[in-house]
C-alpha cells in the first residue's frame, strides 16, 4: 500500500465529503484500532519518531510537545484543536474540514488517546459555516457508530468532542488566548510558563494542536512511522498542504511532500504568474512572515531553510506580491489588520501597531516624511520577539521589517512623490 496523499486522498472537487460509512470503507478509523493496542506513551513515541512538526506555523515536533504533559492523574485533561484559521492568505484547514471532516475526528480520537484526554474541543473560526455543518455531522456519525462516547470500540477509553465556533478574533489563534476564549473569558494570551500542557483549559493539562497537524495522525498510526518518513523529500517527513494566492494562473492549495520548493509550488501547481504580471516578492506562509524575493524560489519549504533566508515558513500558503501592486499599500493593509486584531493586553502591540498604521497611511496619502522611516525601523525592533507578551506583534512586524529591507526605494519614492500605483 502506497498512499502518498494521506491528507487529501478522500477529497474530490464537487463531491460531498465522505460519510462515516464511506470513510470507514476507505480505510478510515484504523488508526484508533491500532493505537488502542499500544500504551498511550508508545503512541506518543510513534508520533515523535515520525518527525511530524506542527502545521500551525511554529513547526515544533508534535510528539515532543505531547510528551511535556504530566502523567494522567485521573482528572480531566483536554485536546483542543486550533481551527481558528485567521492567518491572512491561509485556507488549508478549511479544505480539510469542509471536505474530509472524519479525518480530523479520527485524528482527534487517536491523539486524545495518546495524551489520555477526556474531552476534545474544536475551536472553529466562526465564518467557516460549511466546515461547522460538516464537522457537526461527522461528530454525530462518530457517536452513532461508537467512535465517540463511552468505551470506544469496546476499549477502556472514552472521549467526548465538542465544536465551539469562535466569535472571531485573530488572537484566538494564539493557543493560550484560544483557551481563554474557550473558557468564556477575554481572548488575551496567557503568560508561559505555565504551559497549557501543565495548566491549560479549566486549569487542567491541555494540548492545543492545529487541524492539519492532527489530520496527519491517522496516517502515522495506520501506516507506520517509516511510511510517513518516506513521504517527504530527502530527510523530510510526511506531506503538507501548501498553496498560493495572488496573481497566479491557478491559485489554490495542494498536498505535496515536505521539502518541495517554492518554485515547484508556484510554477507546477499554480501555473506561474498571470500574463502581464511579474512577481516582486512573496510572503511564504501568511501575513505575519517576512517577504522573500524571486531569489528564494528554489528554497525547499522547510522551516529551517526558510528561517536561514530571513523569513518563516509559517502556514506555507504563500502570497504573491506582483509588480503592479503597491508594496507599501500591501504592508499597510496587513498592519491595519494586525493593529485591529491586537487584543490590547500589552503595550508594544496595542500602541505600537496603530503608530505604524498611521505612518503607512501617511505614506500612501503622500504625506510621508523622511523621519518616519526611522520610526518604522525603530518600531520593528520595539515590537520584536521577546518584547511583547505573545507573537502577534513580532509577526506583524515581519512584513514591515522585510519591506524596509527590500523596498526602501519604494518608501523613498512614496515620501517624495506619493504612491504611484494608484
Amino acid at each position: 500500500m502506497s498512499i502518498n496523499n494521506p491528507l487529501t486522498k478522500n477529497i474530490e472537487e464537487g463531491r460531498a465529503p465522505f460519510t462515516f460509512k464511506e470513510y470507514k470503507a476507505a480505510g478510515g478509523y484504523q488508526s484508533f484500532t491500532n493505537a488502542v493496542k499500544m500504551s498511550p506513551r508508545d503512541v506518543m513515541g510513534q508520533v515523535k519518531d515520525s518527525g511530524l512538526g506542527g502545521r500551525g506555523g511554529a513547526g515544533f515536533n508534535t510528539g515532543l510537545k505531547w510528551s511535556f504533559s504530566p502523567d494522567p492523574d485521573g482528572l480531566p485533561r483536554y485536546l483542543v484543536i486550533n481551527a481558528d484559521e485567521m492567518e491572512p492568505g491561509t485556507f488549508k484547514d478549511r479544505l480539510l474540514m469542509e471536505s474530509d471532516p472524519h479525518l480530523l475526528i479520527e485524528g482527534m480520537i487517536t491523539a486524545s488517546y495518546a495524551i489520555q484526554a477526556s474531552t476534545g474541543y474544536i475551536f472553529l473560526r466562526g465564518e467557516y459555516t460549511v466546515a461547522e455543518e460538516n464537522l457537526l455531522k461527522a461528530i454525530a456519525e462518530a457517536y452513532d457508530n461508537g467512535m465517540l462516547g463511552k468505551n470506544i470500540q469496546g476499549s477502556d477509553y472514552s472521549l467526548d468532542i465538542y465544536l465551539h465556533t469562535s466569535a472571531g478574533r485573530y488572537i484566538c489563534g494564539e493557543e493560550t488566548a484560544l483557551i481563554n476564549a474557550l473558557e468564556g473569558k477575554r481572548a488575551n494570551p496567557r503568560f508561559k510558563p505555565p504551559f497549557p500542557q501543565v495548566s491549560g483549559l479549566w486549569g487542567r493539562p491541555t494540548l492545543v494542536n492545529n487541524v492539519e497537524t492532527i489530520c496527519n495522525i491517522p496516517g502515522i498510526l495506520t501506516h507506520g512511522v517509516e511510511w510517513f518518513k518516506g513521504l517527504g523529500l530527502g530527510d523530510e517527513c510526511g506531506t503538507r498542504i501548501s498553496g498560493v494566492s495572488g496573481r497566479v494562473k491557478n491559485p489554490g492549495c495542494w498536498e505535496m511532500p515536505v521539502g518541495t520548493t517554492f518554485r515547484t509550488l508556484l510554477e507546477d501547481y499554480a501555473g506561474g504568474m498571470q500574463d502581464g504580471y511579474e512577481m516582486k516578492a512573496f510572503l511564504p506562509g501568511g501575513g505575519s512572515t517576512d517577504f522573500l524575493t524571486s531569489d528564494h524560489l528554489d528554497l525547499p519549504m522547510i522551516p529551517g531553510d526558510v528561517a536561514k533566508a530571513g523569513s518563516r515558513l509559517g502556514t506555507s500558503l504563500i502570497m504573491i506580491l506582483d509588480d503592479k501592486t503597491c508594496p507599501i499599500g500591501t504592508v499597510r493593509n496587513l498592519i491595519k489588520f494586525f493593529a485591529h486584531e491586537s487584543c490590547g493586553w500589552c503595550t508594544p502591540c496595542r500602541d505600537g501597531l496603530p503608530w505604524v498604521e498611521h505612518i503607512l497611511n501617511k505614506m500612501e496619502e503622500g504625506e510621508g516624511e523622511e523621519k518616519d522611516i526611522g520610526v518604522l525601523k525603530e518600531m520593528c525592533g520595539y515590537m520584536g520577539p521577546g518584547n511583547t507578551f505573545c507573537a502577534l506583534a513580532p509577526g506583524a512586524a515581519e512584513p514591515l521589517q522585510s519591506s524596509l529591507k527590500y523596498f526602501m526605494d519604494e518608501y523613498e519614492s512614496h515620501i517624495k512623490h506619493g504612491c504611484n500605483y494608484k
Binding site: 477575554r186 503568560f191 487584543c343 490590547g344 500602541d351 505600537g352 503608530w355
Partner: protein
C-alpha cells in the same frame, strides 16, 4: 535567598519574590504600572523591562519583564541596558493620553507622570490623532475620565480579581480597550474607592474630593485612624483652608494594607457638615433658646457642671476623652454609655482574647487563613475591610495548588487560571444572606441563638471535652460534622464573630471552637468584631464593671455630662426621655447635632478626629494613635482638653497608669519631646503653596505656628519629614515618586512592613494555653411575635458617616425584611408598608433566605429606632402607605440583592 548581579553590583535577594519587587526593595528606580504588591504580576504593561544574561559570556542578553522573572541564583541582569525599550514603551503608552495634567486631579501625585519622567520620554513624535472615549457616571464616589487610561488593567484586576466586583470590566480591544460598567450606574463594590489609588493615572478620581479639590502638595495631612468601624484602618486625611478635603489610605500591613472600604474613604466629610456644632452653647431651661458662648466661658460652665454629675462615655470618643471625663466626674460616677448587653459582650471578648488559647487575628492572619467560619456577623456591613480580607483567604486553595506545581506566589493570572472556581472553605452562619455568599461554601440561615448552638456543637465535634449540644436537627448535625472536619484539617483556621448580633452565646461558641482547635503552640485565629472605633477601648476602661447606660439611667442623679454620644442610639426612646427629663442639667460634648444634644443645657463644641489627637482601640485590642490633621477654629477643642486641664500627654499617661492593660498607649507616638535636630515633623508638604498669602486678607503678618497637643508634629511645612528619618510617617513622598506608590520607599521590602511609623500596640497579650469552655445554652423558648434580627448597612448605619452626602446617596431609609410566607400571612403586597410595634411604618423586602417567623430590622437608618424594638415584635400592614423617595432598595448590600423582591426598584 539568591545572589544576583544587577548592572555589575551584587545583591542578595529573596528568590520567592519577582525581580521587580526585589529591585524596588533594594532602592533601585525601575518603572512599572501593572504590578501591585497586593495583586501580583501579569506582565502586561512592559514597563519594568530589564535584560537577563544567559551566562558570563552572553553580551546581548534577552529582554524580560522584571515583574515576571524569578531571580535565579548567580544570574546577571541589567536595568540600564533596557532603558531604550522602556523609553519606547512609555512613548507609545502616551500616544493617546490627553496630557491634561494641569486640569487633572491626579496631577502632582500621578504615577504615570513619575514613570514618564523616569523613563525619559520628553518629546512627542507621534503626530496622529488621539483616541477618545465616552465617560460613564459611576455613582457618588468615583469620577471616570477614560481618555487618560493607559490600559494597564490594574483597575479590573483590583475590582474583579481582588475585590470580587462583578459590574465592571474591560470592553472592546486593541487601542480602543475600555474600562467601565456595561452601562452607566453606581459601582456596586463597597471597595470601589480604592480604584482612585490603584489607577496609576487620573481615570478614576475621588468625586467628593473633586468638589473641593486641592493638589496633594497643598494638603495639610497627618497619620490618622478611620472612625467608621472597629477595624481602625489607617488613613491620611487631607485639609486645606480649614475643611477636610479627602481621605486616602495609610499603609499598615497589620490592619488595612493598601485598601480602605468606601465608608472609610468617603464617610469622613461629616467634619465639614452644616450640622456641625461650631461653637458651644448654653441655655437656662429646656424651652429657652441657646446662647453661643466663648470657649473660656464654656470651659468654666463645664467645670461647674461637673460637680455632682455623672459622666457618660462613648465608644466613638478617644481613650483620652473618655478618661478625662472619668477623671472629672470620678470613677464611681463614670458610665460606659452603651447598653449593658453590648458592654457585657465586649467584656467577654476581652476575657476570650486574654484567657482562651487563641490567636487574635489581624488582617494578615485573616488573609492567610485557609478555612474560615463566620458566626452571625454580616462582615461586609459591620467590618468591611475584614470582609475584603476574607475574600483573599478563600484564594489560598488556589495558591496552594499553584505552589504544588511550583508556580511563584506572585504569578497572579496563572494561579487564578489554575484554581478556576476552587476556593478555600468559608462557612457562614447568619440569619440572612450576606455579601460574602458568592465565595462561601455554605451560608446556613439560622438565628443568632441557634447559630451559637451549632457553633458549640462544632467545638464539641472537634474536641469532645467541649460541652455537647442536644436537640440539633439531622441537617444541622451533618453541617456540624462537615464544618468540624474542615476546620480540623485546615492548616490555619479562622473563626469570626462579633457583637452586632447582640447574642453573647455566639462569642462563647466562637471561643469554644477556637479553643477546641488549639493544639499546643498551634492556635486558631479568632477575630471578634465590635461596633465602633473605640468600643474595645471603652470596655477596657470599664475594667469589667457593669456600669452601662442602663445603670446610668437608674443612677438617679440630677446632672449628667454626655461625651460624644447620642443616647437614643443606645437605649429605648422612652428610657432616654425619662432619664433626660429627670435631670436638672444635661451637658453634651459632641461635633454634630443630634437628638440628645438638642435637649442639653450646655453643648460643648467638640473636635472631630480630624481636629484632635487621641487613641482608639480596635477589634483586636490594638491601640492606635491619630494625630490631628488641622487646627480647628478656636471655639472648637478636643473633648479631652475640654474635660481636663492637664496637657494631652499627661492624660494619656494617666490613662495608661490607671487602666489595666493600657500601658501600651503611651508608646504610640515618639513622645512630646520628640525632635530631629531640634525640629518636629511637618504636616505640610515641602511644596505647600500660599503659606504667606493664604491669610493675607486677614493679616499680612504670618502667625506663629501653633503647637499641637501631641508635640510631635507641627502645623507647618517646616521640620523634618519621614523621608529624612522622622519616625512619624505622614504622607508618603520620595524624590521622583510623587504618587502613593512611593510608599515602598518606606517599607522594609517593597510591599512589606513599614520602617517608620507605628503599627499600633496590641494591648491584650494572649499567652494562654489552657483549654477552658463556655457552657452551651439551652434552646430558646418560643416568643410571641416575630423574632428580630438586626440588618446593618455599611452606608447609613454608622452615626457619623451618615452625615456625609456621598454616603447618604448610597444609603436608604429604614425597612424590614421578611420571608415570603410571612409577607403573605400579613397580607402584604409589594408596594405596602409595615407598621412595626412601638415604632414607625416602613417598607419591606421579601427574601427567600429568611426564616419563617423572623424579621430583619434595619439598624441606624432613618425611619426606625432599633432600640425601641423588643426581641420579639408584632407586625401589621400599614394604613395608607406610600414609599418615600429615601427608600432605595438597590442600595442594600447582600448577595441576593437582585432577588430582592420589591416593586419599582431596578
Amino acid at each position: 535567598m539568591a545572589s544576583i548581579t544587577i548592572d555589575g553590583k551584587v545583591f542578595e535577594v529573596d528568590a520567592k519574590n519577582n525581580l521587580l519587587q526585589e529591585c524596588l526593595s533594594h532602592a533601585m528606580d525601575l518603572p512599572y504600572f501593572c504590578w501591585h504588591p497586593s495583586m501580583g504580576s501579569v506582565g502586561s504593561c512592559r514597563q519594568c523591562a530589564v535584560i537577563e544574561y544567559a551566562n558570563e559570556d552572553d553580551e546581548k542578553g534577552r529582554l524580560v519583564m522584571a515583574c515576571m522573572t524569578e531571580p535565579r541564583e548567580g544570574a546577571r541582569y541589567s536595568i540600564e541596558a533596557a532603558s531604550t525599550f522602556r523609553a519606547q514603551a512609555i512613548e507609545s503608552i502616551m500616544i493617546n493620553h490627553p496630557h491634561d495634567c494641569p486640569v487633572c486631579e491626579e496631577g502632582g501625585e500621578c504615577h504615570l507622570q513619575d514613570m514618564t519622567v523616569m523613563s525619559g520620554h520628553t518629546y512627542r513624535r507621534y503626530d496622529g490623532k488621539k483616541k477618545t472615549h465616552h465617560n460613564q457616571y459611576l455613582g457618588p464616589f468615583i469620577n471616570h475620565e477614560m481618555n487618560r487610561c493607559i490600559t494597564c488593567y490594574r483597575c479590573v484586576r483590583y475590582y474583579k480579581d481582588y475585590a470580587g466586583g462583578t459590574d465592571f470590566g474591560p470592553q472592546a480591544s486593541h487601542d480602543n480597550t475600555y474600562f467601565g460598567r456595561w452601562q452607566e450606574g453606581s459601582l456596586e463594590s463597597e471597595f470601589s474607592g480604592n480604584l482612585v489609588e490603584v489607577c496609576p493615572t487620573g481615570v478614576f478620581t475621588d468625586k467628593p474630593f473633586s468638589k473641593h479639590y486641592s493638589r496633594k502638595w497643598d494638603l495639610q495631612s497627618s497619620p490618622s485612624v478611620c472612625t467608621g468601624c472597629s477595624v481602625g484602618c489607617n488613613t491620611n486625611p487631607g485639609e486645606r483652608y480649614g475643611s477636610l478635603r479627602r481621605i486616602v489610605n495609610r499603609f499598615n500591613d497589620e490592619v488595612n494594607g493598601y485598601f480602605l472600604c468606601d465608608k472609610g474613604r468617603f464617610g469622613a466629610e461629616y467634619v465639614n457638615s452644616s450640622e456641625r456644632i461650631p461653637v458651644s452653647m448654653i441655655r437656662n431651661s429646656h424651652d429657652a433658646d441657646p446662647v453661643q458662648i466663648e470657649a473660656d466661658i464654656a470651659k468654666e460652665a463645664l467645670s461647674k457642671a461637673a460637680k455632682g454629675s455623672i459622666g457618660i462615655g462613648s465608644p466613638r470618643a478617644s481613650m483620652e476623652a473618655n478618661f478625662a471625663l472619668r477623671d472629672l466626674v470620678g470613677e464611681e460616677n463614670f458610665y460606659a454609655g452603651i447598653a449593658e448587653n453590648e458592654l457585657g459582650m465586649l467584656d467577654k471578648i476581652i476575657d476570650i482574647y486574654q484567657n482562651k488559647p487563641v490567636n487574635i487575628a489581624n488582617i494578615k492572619d485573616i488573609e492567610n487563613s485557609d478555612a474560615v467560619l463566620i458566626l452571625g456577623e454580616d462582615l461586609t456591613n459591620t467590618a468591611a475591610r475584614l470582609a475584603l480580607g476574607v475574600r483573599q483567604s478563600v484564594k489560598n486553595l488556589g495558591r496552594q495548588m499553584g505552589a504544588d506545581l511550583n508556580f511563584p506566589i506572585w504569578h497572579d493570572a496563572a494561579i487564578r487560571q489554575l484554581a478556576m472556581d476552587k476556593l478555600s472553605p468559608l462557612y457562614i452562619l447568619s440569619p440572612h444572606t450576606t455579601r460574602l455568599d458568592d465565595v462561601s461554601h455554605t451560608t446556613h440561615i439560622s438565628s443568632a441563638a441557634n447559630s451559637a448552638r451549632i457553633g458549640m456543637a462544632i467545638a464539641n465535634a472537634i474536641d469532645s471535652s467541649a460541652p455537647a449540644v442536644k436537640g440539633l436537627t439531622k441537617d444541622e448535625k451533618a453541617l456540624v460534622a462537615e464544618i468540624a472536619e474542615t476546620l480540623k484539617s485546615a492548616k490555619q483556621a479562622l473563626i469570626i464573630s462579633g457583637t452586632s448580633s447582640r447574642e453573647p452565646a455566639l462569642l462563647e461558641a466562637a471561643s469554644n471552637i477556637a479553643t477546641a482547635l488549639q493544639d499546643g503552640d498551634n492556635k486558631a485565629n479568632l477575630a471578634l468584631v465590635s461596633a465602633e472605633s473605640n468600643s474595645m477601648g471603652l470596655a477596657l476602661m470599664m475594667q469589667g464593671n457593669n456600669k452601662a447606660l442602663e445603670q446610668a439611667i437608674s443612677a438617679v442623679k440630677k446632672s449628667a455630662i454626655v461625651l460624644e454620644n447620642d443616647l437614643y442610639r443606645r437605649a429605648s426612646s422612652s428610657d432616654v426621655d425619662a432619664f433626660i427629663n429627670g435631670l436638672d442639667q444635661l451637658v453634651v460634648l459632641d461635633h454634630l447635632k443630634n437628638r440628645t444634644g438638642e435637649q442639653a443645657n450646655l453643648v460643648i463644641a467638640a473636635a472631630t478626629f480630624a481636629e484632635s489627637s487621641g487613641t482608639f482601640v480596635n477589634y483586636e485590642g490594638r491601640a492606635q494613635h491619630y494625630y490631628s490633621t488641622f487646627k480647628p477654629d478656636s471655639a472648637i477643642r478636643s473633648s479631652a482638653l475640654w474635660l481636663s486641664d492637664k496637657p494631652f500627654n499627661e492624660i494619656t499617661a494617666a490613662c495608661a497608669d490607671a487602666i489595666a492593660n493600657c500601658d501600651g498607649i503611651t508608646d504610640l507616638t515618639p513622645g512630646e519631646n520628640y525632635n530631629f535636630a531640634g525640629l518636629k515633623v511637618p504636616r505640610q508638604h515641602h511644596r505647600y503653596s500660599g503659606r504667606t498669602s493664604m491669610r493675607a486678607n486677614i493679616n499680612v503678618h504670618e502667625p506663629k505656628q501653633e503647637q499641637d497637643e501631641d508635640g510631635v508634629m507641627v502645623y507647618s511645612m517646616e521640620g523634618v519629614p519621614a523621608i529624612k528619618d522622622a519616625s512619624v510617617l505622614n504622607s508618603p513622598w520620595a524624590p521622583g515618586w510623587n504618587s502613593n506608590q512611593s510608599i515602598f520607599k518606606f517599607q522594609e521590602n517593597a510591599g512589606g512592613a513599614l520602617k517608620q511609623g507605628s503599627n499600633g500596640q496590641r494591648l491584650l497579650l494572649n499567652t494562654c494555653t489552657k483549654k477552658t469552655w463556655y457552657e452551651a445554652a439551652g434552646s430558646n423558648d418560643a416568643k410571641e411575635g416575630f423574632e428580630v434580627f438586626p440588618l446593618y448597612h455599611l452606608f447609613g448605619s454608622e452615626e457619623l458617616s451618615a452625615y456625609t452626602p456621598a454616603i447618604q446617596e448610597k444609603a436608604t431609609s429604614a425597612y424590614i425584611s421578611l420571608n415570603p410566607e410571612d409577607a403573605e400571612k400579613l397580607g402584604l403586597q409589594a408596594s405596602d408598608g409595615v407598621q412595626v410595634e412601638h415604632n414607625g411604618a416602613v417598607p419591606f423586602i421579601v427574601r427567600e433566605a429568611t426564616q419563617v417567623g423572623t424579621v430583619g430590622i434595619s439598624v441606624g437608618l432613618k425611619g426606625l429606632n432599633f432600640q425601641d424594638i423588643s426581641s420579639a415584635v408584632a407586625l401589621d400592614k400599614a394604613d395608607n402607605w406610600k414609599n418615600s423617595e429615601t427608600w432605595l432598595a438597590a442600595n442594600i448590600i447582600a448577595s441576593d440583592k437582585r432577588e430582592v423582591n420589591i416593586e419599582g426598584v431596578d
